[in-house]
Every structure is written in structure tokens, then in C-alpha cells.
Symmetry: D2
Subunit: 328 residues, 4 copies
Amino acid sequence: MPTQEIHDQINSRLEALYRRHRGEPEGEVVRYYPPEMKERRELFAVSLCAIDAGEFYHAGDSDFTFPLQSISKIFAYGLALEDNGREKVLERVGVEPSGDAFNSITFDERRNRPHNPMVNAGALVTTDLVAGRDSDEQLERILEKLRIYAGNPELTIDESILDPDAQSTDRNRAISYLMRSFGMISDNIEENLTLYGRQCSVHVTADELSLMAATLANGGVNPKTGERALDRRYVRDVLSVMHTCGMYDAAGQWAYEVGLPAKSGVSGGILAVIPGKLGLGVFSPGLDSYGNSVRGVRVCREISERLGLHIFANEAEDLLLQTTDPAE
Amino acid sequence: MPTQEIHDQINSRLEALYRRHRGEPEGEVVRYYPPEMKERRELFAVSLCAIDAGEFYHAGDSDFTFPLQSISKIFAYGLALEDNGREKVLERVGVEPSGDAFNSITFDERRNRPHNPMVNAGALVTTDLVAGRDSDEQLERILEKLRIYAGNPELTIDESILDPDAQSTDRNRAISYLMRSFGMISDNIEENLTLYGRQCSVHVTADELSLMAATLANGGVNPKTGERALDRRYVRDVLSVMHTCGMYDAAGQWAYEVGLPAKSGVSGGILAVIPGKLGLGVFSPGLDSYGNSVRGVRVCREISERLGLHIFANEAEDLLLQTTDPAE
Amino acid sequence: MPTQEIHDQINSRLEALYRRHRGEPEGEVVRYYPPEMKERRELFAVSLCAIDAGEFYHAGDSDFTFPLQSISKIFAYGLALEDNGREKVLERVGVEPSGDAFNSITFDERRNRPHNPMVNAGALVTTDLVAGRDSDEQLERILEKLRIYAGNPELTIDESILDPDAQSTDRNRAISYLMRSFGMISDNIEENLTLYGRQCSVHVTADELSLMAATLANGGVNPKTGERALDRRYVRDVLSVMHTCGMYDAAGQWAYEVGLPAKSGVSGGILAVIPGKLGLGVFSPGLDSYGNSVRGVRVCREISERLGLHIFANEAEDLLLQTTDPAE
Amino acid sequence: MPTQEIHDQINSRLEALYRRHRGEPEGEVVRYYPPEMKERRELFAVSLCAIDAGEFYHAGDSDFTFPLQSISKIFAYGLALEDNGREKVLERVGVEPSGDAFNSITFDERRNRPHNPMVNAGALVTTDLVAGRDSDEQLERILEKLRIYAGNPELTIDESILDPDAQSTDRNRAISYLMRSFGMISDNIEENLTLYGRQCSVHVTADELSLMAATLANGGVNPKTGERALDRRYVRDVLSVMHTCGMYDAAGQWAYEVGLPAKSGVSGGILAVIPGKLGLGVFSPGLDSYGNSVRGVRVCREISERLGLHIFANEAEDLLLQTTDPAE
């Protein structure tokens, strides 16, 4: 555990990083989700969680809660692996990046399954694979997991954002019935859609997001509580699909530039994992054309570069702890 | 450097691995390239090269030479990065897995460029990006690089396998003219096709392949000769595209199961990199439906699992050096 | 009206045609719908209805009833035109052959509408466009129309073949929700699917089918009853979409070889129109890979050739009424 | 043959039609081909040729010559049918509208052939099918045919518009090599491209265009010269593909609204056939988003409606010869 002095120093460096990115032009923002979030465009939070002691380093609105949205897909995938084993899950959902958008209606026709668990089709099958007598029990089991990852037994769904009749739900509904016509998913489409909607609506703060990331970085054990959230043997599977498919159809660009397993959500959150070291949680609502947070991508790229966190990096370009910051 | 005893022990373990996979059923073999290679289906070589001393551990036909084919794409990409810088290369070739086959005629329409340098379209642009007054000089510069990677100044093209009128060349020709109509590639299509064909026809042994891999694992410096083959800063770029796009449209499955940056060629070779540790070169001509070597994929999967080499692995399932082999 | 002698002569010629095609090899049959129909593969009916007197010439099982299936699409399209006018219907459903299968999930993205009213997507919107306070009234209005076309006030739905949970319904459901997500169709998806399923399940005989065709051939007036089934100005619209899109993705081949506006159904029926002259109804359950009746296509081709009915024909190759039949 | 009085009356009516459309807003014009043609946007010609005596009725710039471009495809198709027979041609080129743009790189995969002879892929194969010892003889035979259709032995190529390196040629080159890789086309790609380019560059006037149309309307015999341009039995084949595929990806809309077999070219010409009656030739360079002449489509639609020429029309809405024109 770092001394108070080092802790303060890191926090002050992160604060500087935060301020630099907070003020940057919003030129690339394509949209906000939900559109009302445009009124809150100033929102911005960066949180790092070190796995040695579950210590947080954060800046900005790290207490603001937002829905996980697609970030929830990775946790449901881990639970589906625990419930069914790797082989059975692979039969039902592939692990291949498809080059298509998250709401694509194309499938892996060779194997009659969605391309991967990070596109909506694959996430719907993943949720369907979570064990439970009914969707209430499935939801309870998902929530329970999310609470362990986040170290927050109060983690809950914000029902106010649920809208089963919305346009995006209709697309997921279409995807579901298409999959049912192919025999890819169970019969109870409507319940599964509701369950999936609820899973996506669980609210977290950026700090909770970084702790969830740190839990994955820590081999599946929450570094703050010591509770196991994910069977050790499936951590690498979750990180692998995050790495190749986690950032929508910009996943390759992210793997190239940032080089960390990560998952973004349309609510503006990004969770990134530095295995054995850190969890990273970022939130800022302005989205680029791929659906990833504009400031989130930028700040992650800078952190990865400065700390040399790219999984294939030879060295850090800079060190977060070095005393002078050339950019200021 | 390991003692002779340890060296012998590793070699004997590798020999056991080789024998196990050599005898396995060929049920999944879809085709051989060229078809005549079917007569040589017994060919099989595994070679490991440790970066500390450029020491080889190998089994099987590790002296048999075969053309690099698509494996050459990664070295040309590294050279193009050195010649043009990251930014300019990214403008011309993306880094996104496309979900399409290697000979796809689709492009990144948003950015008017091929999806990535591992599909043929992207590889043709990459070769086009290699500096040189003419294609002879470009070829000379590519050969020079390949020789440094392989530590073999005699490395050369086998002109006998070149067939500019073949069916696959016509497809590459079509891709090239399509790209020219989009302004994605230079005018000299035919010269570039010939150059690309020559680059693919450079012959190596499995030992050379593992040394080339070890050079990438060693930050771009050949561990045997000490010569630098690739600027340190571009090593991570090459490894990144290998990781997300290197194994044709089974890249995601490979990243999930094997978890190593790798590149395969239709001649049956696979090059895999364990950064900071090892280079791996495998050769066996029977191909699966994706165009990857059937035995090559299996043996790499086993090595990755036993040695715990998956980039997101928590631990090895087994150790190559442990004295008893439960599978025997 | 022909004399009894001529009438008999035509019937005897048609009988010969029927016998020739009845016995032909079934080599091209790909499937039967429903599969049980394979037990009834001998079923075969040909019916001609001349518009001057609504006189029937028929051979085979011309009294056997079968569901209209996709043939119903043309009558619903006519009704939608009457209810909404050409312009409003064109805003909602295009008239462009798409080259895709009948159950395609692609759309005319330029205009945010299904490609044409003969693919399922377009047919679902067409049914949605039929006026009525509720789906019961819509159904009643569709049935009423079909009865006028067929000259049979008893025409009805065979509820036994309705199966709302079937695989094909799931695909139509997926198409519907996808269209709802694009704003292409009304909210009441499930009711519309049920309505569409009922419309497809109306049962007719081959004689009724030829009378329905004759009604279109006669400018929209049933030649037997004198009742108007379709506003004169929309007859050409219905015939036009039949001509370019009526025979699934073999429509172009049909327009080339047979050259008549026609519509087929997966139940094995084909309705073809010779404007100003004849209606043609054929039924035989064996289907080719496009979903068209194998014997149906062949017999229509022969009738068109012998009678010179191709809309761009210069002359008949033969005449049905000529006394000797060289093929016998 | 009409009396001079009737002739003058028709001409004066056509002149009125011409003036109405000449002055209409150009709002829908998307582009001009070649772009320089924008300077000549006033160009506009309408020509009707009656088959009874090869009599012309025309208005506007009916002497201005422009290249046939894609209109040449229909004549080459007719010649390929004569040279090879229907069956052999169908093996090599389908007759199915594809829903794709004219320069599409998709093919009929079931039958390993281009979708139809009106898309560039199909037109390139069609030209390849024209008999001749070499491409010079093929060109001579195509030219000879075109001269018979147009009744002008001087009809020739404007070499000045040929540009073998242009962007569109590169796309055709790509399509050709792709087809060669599939075994769809002969080896001599470059010669065939040059031949095809020359065929497209034959220049005609609107009067010649309407005479070419009248030749097709007259069963293949030029009504002015009495020379046969096309074997009677293939006239219906040419008209059939024109009807379903002739107007690019707006062919269905045209068949619905205008209802005449027709072919347009990117130079702004449209040729339409009223079998047994008239040939129609229109020219105006402003193009819509499909590549069809904006004024050309409008004037054809009006002529079809007023004269009741739609192949499925019940009656004319108006008659060209009626003495008062309500629109003026």
C-alpha cells in the first residue's frame, strides 16, 4: 500500500490529467445517450483502482451514477461461463469480432450462433444462458454478481430508464425472434428482453466501475472485499472477448492504440483492465460515431501511453508519478 | 543460457509433444496449398526459440523450407511503419478485424482504406507503402529485413512457385484495381502485384520462423545476431494487428483459446510471439476451413495451455519442464 | 362464347398437356410445404379461364383446395391501393425487385421502406395498410375482396393450418419488429401478424385461382359474376409488381421465359394473367429452390410458348387449338 | 403513313410537350456525365419513330450526338444471342434484377454468372460472347449491327471520349479480373475492356436512338431501311431484360410507372420500345441518383400516360392527337 504522500501525488497527477481532458474541444461528439444527457455534457470522471489494496485514485464526478448498459455484457458472460462451462457457451455464442455494429442482425452462419457476446445478439443469448428457474432468479443472480464485482451490496436497477417499447428494444426484439427462428435462443423472448434491459440498467459510479475492473485485473477477486466474483479459470475468457470485441466496431483501433481489454457502454462509461495491476473506470457522456465515450477514449489512451500499459508495450513513454508534466 | 541438461530435457519434452500431434487424425483437414502438398502430409515441424540466447528447441522437419505466404505481411507492415510512420500508415490501412475472409473485397468505407494489413487488400497497400525508387528496390529492402529477422543472409525467393496468372492472383488483381478506382493504392498495380507475390514466396524453415518470432518477442532485435530488425516503437503495432487479425477469420477464436499474437500462412506455417520470452514457429501443410494449419493450431494451443502463455492467463496448467507428462 | 365443340377440343388439348407434365420426372423438387404435402405429390391441376365468358378449361385436381399463401399478397396490395391511393402506398412500400429471397431482412434504405410488396416485409406493411377499425374488420374486408375475385362467397380460412408459433412466423415477427424500430409499420405487430397469417390461409381451388387471374386480366371485373374486384386504375400497378417481383428471386427468369405477370405461393399454386384474354391457375405441391412449383413453372412455360402469350412475343410457336400435337 | 396534316399536328403536340419539360426545375439533378456536360444542361431532345413508315416526330436538339454508353448493352446482348443461342448465353449471364447498382461486384453465386446483362459485369461477359477472331472483328460486328439498327452506315466511335485509365474503367477492370478468377470470362481482359469501352462510345442522335428503338418495336427490322438488325426470336429476350433490368436500380419503379421496356445510359439518353408501334429516343444530360436522365424519365412517363402505352394499361389517360391540351 502506498504511503499517503505517494497517494496524494498520484491523485494530483490524475487531477491534472482530468483537467486537461475536461477542457478539450467536444468536436467529435456525435450524440448523447439518452439525448437529455447533452444537458450534462460537463460530466466527467476518471477512477483508477490498484489491486494491491483496492485503493482508489480519482478525479471529477466519480460519485455520479450511470447505467452500465453494454458494460454489463462482460459480467453476464462470466456468469454464463460459470453456469454452463466454456464449451457449452462457445456452442451458443462465438468469440469472433464481426466488423459489424453492436446491433447487427448478421450471425456466424457456419456455426449458427451470434458472432460474439459483445454484440447485442450475443449478449441476449448470454443472458439467456444465465441459470435460474425464472427470469426473476436470473436477475437476482446477475445482480448478486455485479454487487460482488462492485463491492456494493446496494447496487440496483434504475427502473426509470427502462422503456420496453423504445426503438432500440424493438431492434433487440427483432434480433431475438430472428434467433428464435434459427433455434439460437430459448422460447421466452419477452422475458429475456426484460431481463436484459434490467441487466443493462444497473447503475454504478466511476469508482465502482474501476473496482469492477480491478476485480477482473485481480484474477476475479474483489481486491477491496476479498470476495470472488468470477471463477479464476474464466477470467482470461472474459478479458479475451473484451480485448477483441469490447469497444464496438472500434475494438481493433482500441487494441492497437490503447492495448487493454476494455468494454464501453452507450451511457458513456468505459471499463478497462490492466491485469495484475489496475482497474480503470471512466465516464463522460459524449459519444463518438462508434458509440464510445469521446473523452473516455482519449483519457484511456493517454493513461495507457504514459504508464506503458499497452499489453504489447515495451516501455512507458512517461510515468504518471514523474514530477514534471511536459504537457502542462 | 540453460545448461545442456535442461536443454536436452526441454527438447525431449518437445519431441513428446511433436509425436503426440504428429499421429493425430487428419479429419479436419480441408485442403492443402499447393494441392501437391497433399503428398507431403506427414511434414510437421515445431520450433521454439528462447530470446535470452536465441537457443532453439525443435522437433520434426525443422529444416524443411516453405514459403512465408501471408506470414510475410507482418514484416512488410513493420517496414511500412518504419518508412512512413504510424499516422500515415493508419491513413492508408486500418487495424480493425473485419470478420471477412482474407481475400474479401469489402473495405472500411468510412475511412476509404482496407480494414487491416492482414487481409490481402491491406497487405497489398502495405507493400505499396514500402519505400524504394522502384519495385526492385522495394523487394531488396523487404528481403533485407526478412534476412535480419531470420538471421539468414541467404534467405531467398523460390521463383518456381510464382505464377502471376493464377486464380488467386486474379483476385488480388481485382482487389488492386478496385482499390485504385477508390484512390487507395498507387498506379503501378502490376508491379505491386509482382512484388507482393515475391514477398510471399520467400522460403524459410520452422527454425527460421521461430527466430523471426523471437525477434518480435525481443523488442525487434534478433536474439541470435543482436541485429535490430524493427524499430522498437513499432513492435507493439505489429503484435497488436497480429493479435486481433492474424489468424484469418478465426483470429478471435485464436485470441480466446491460444491468446498469443500470431500469423499464419496458407503454406501451413504459423508464427507466434510470446513477448519477452519466446518465439514459436510451426509448420504442417494440412489446412482447416479458415486456411490455418490444423496441426499447427492444435500444437500451439497445447503449448500455450501447458506453459500458461495466454496473454490473459493467470497461471500455467502444466509446465513444459515438469518431469512427468500425464498425457503419455 | 365458344361452341361446345371448340370447348371440348380445348379441354382435350389441355388434358394432353396435363398428362405430359403430370408424368415428368420430379428431379428438381427441393421441398414440399407443408412437408406432409410430400405424401400428395401426385396432386396437379391446371385451369384456364377465358375472360369473354368466364369459361373454364381445366385438367387434373382442379377442385382440390389449397391455401393462397403468398398469392394473397397481390390482392391485399390492390386493396391497399384502393384504400390509400398510389402515392401513399409507394411511400410505404417500394416496387423494386431486390434480388433477395422472400424472407429477406434488407430494406430500401434510401426511402426507409420494404423493397416491394411481394417480399414478406412489404406484404406485412401492405396488410397493415388495409383500412379497418381493427384487424377483424381488416380481415373481413380482405376476405370480401378475395370472394369477389374468386366468385365464391364461401371462400374461407382454413384455421387448421394456422400456427402462430412456427419458425416462419418468428422470422416475420423479427421483420415486423425491425420495421417498427425503423418506423415503417404500425404498433400492433402481433395483430398484424395474425391478420397476415389468416390472409395467407384462405383456401382456393385451381379453378378459383384461374378466375381470380381472369378478373385481373379483365381489368378488375370478375368475368363470371360481373362484379368489380379492383378499381380499374390500380390493375396495372398490381400486374406491374407481379411482373417484376412476383416469382420470388426467379422473377427475372420467369419474365424472360414465360413473360406473364404472375404470383406463386409456397403451397404450390401459381396465378398468371394474360391481360385482356385469360386467367391461368396451376397447382402442384413440389417446389424448386426458389419456392416455386416445379410442374407449375413448366406447364406455364409451355402454355406461354405454344400460345405465344409472352408479353413481348412476336408470335405463337404453336396454337393450343391446332389439331395435331407434335409432342405426342 | 399519316398525311402531312396529321404529321404536323403530332409534331406540334410533341413540341408543346418538349417545351413544358424543357423549362422544368432541375432540382433533382444529381450529376452530369462527363461533368463538363453541366455546361450544356439546356440540351434536350425527344424523338418518336413510328414503325409503320419509320416516320420521325421530334423536338429539341434531336441532331446532337452523344455516346450510347450503357444503351449499347442491349444491342450487344442481341448479337451475343444470335452468335451463341439463348441457352449458351443464359449459362454465362443471368436475367435476374439484382437490386444492386450497375457497377456492382456481386454475382449470381448459385450459377456462377453475373446477375444480368444490364449491369456492367454482365455487359462485359456479353461483349466477350460476341463472335470474332479478335477484338477488332468483334468491334466491327458490333458496329455493323448498331449501324443497321440506326439506319446510319456512318455511325462511329468518338475516340476522344475514350479514357482507358479512368476511375470507372478501373472498376470494370476489377470486375473483369474478379470474374476471371471465378472462370466467368475469357482471358483477354484488357482487350475486352477496350472493346467494351469502344462499344459504349458509339455516338448517336436522339433520332437515331428512336429509330433503334423502333427497330426493336418492329420485331428486329429497321422500319426505315427494311434491314433486319436482330433475329426475330431474340427480340423478346432483349425486351424482357430491358423491362426488368434496363433502368439501373430504378428498373422496378420505371416498370411500374412507365411500363415500357427501356434502357438508359449515363450520357443522358433513354431508349424505350412500344412493341408493334413506336420507338422513343430521349436525351438530356442531367442525371438522377440512379444515373437516369431526369428530364428523360419525366417526359417518358408523361408520354406513356397520355398515350396509354404502359404494357399493362387499360386505356390512355389522354391522346397525343387530341386537339386541346389541358396542361397548357
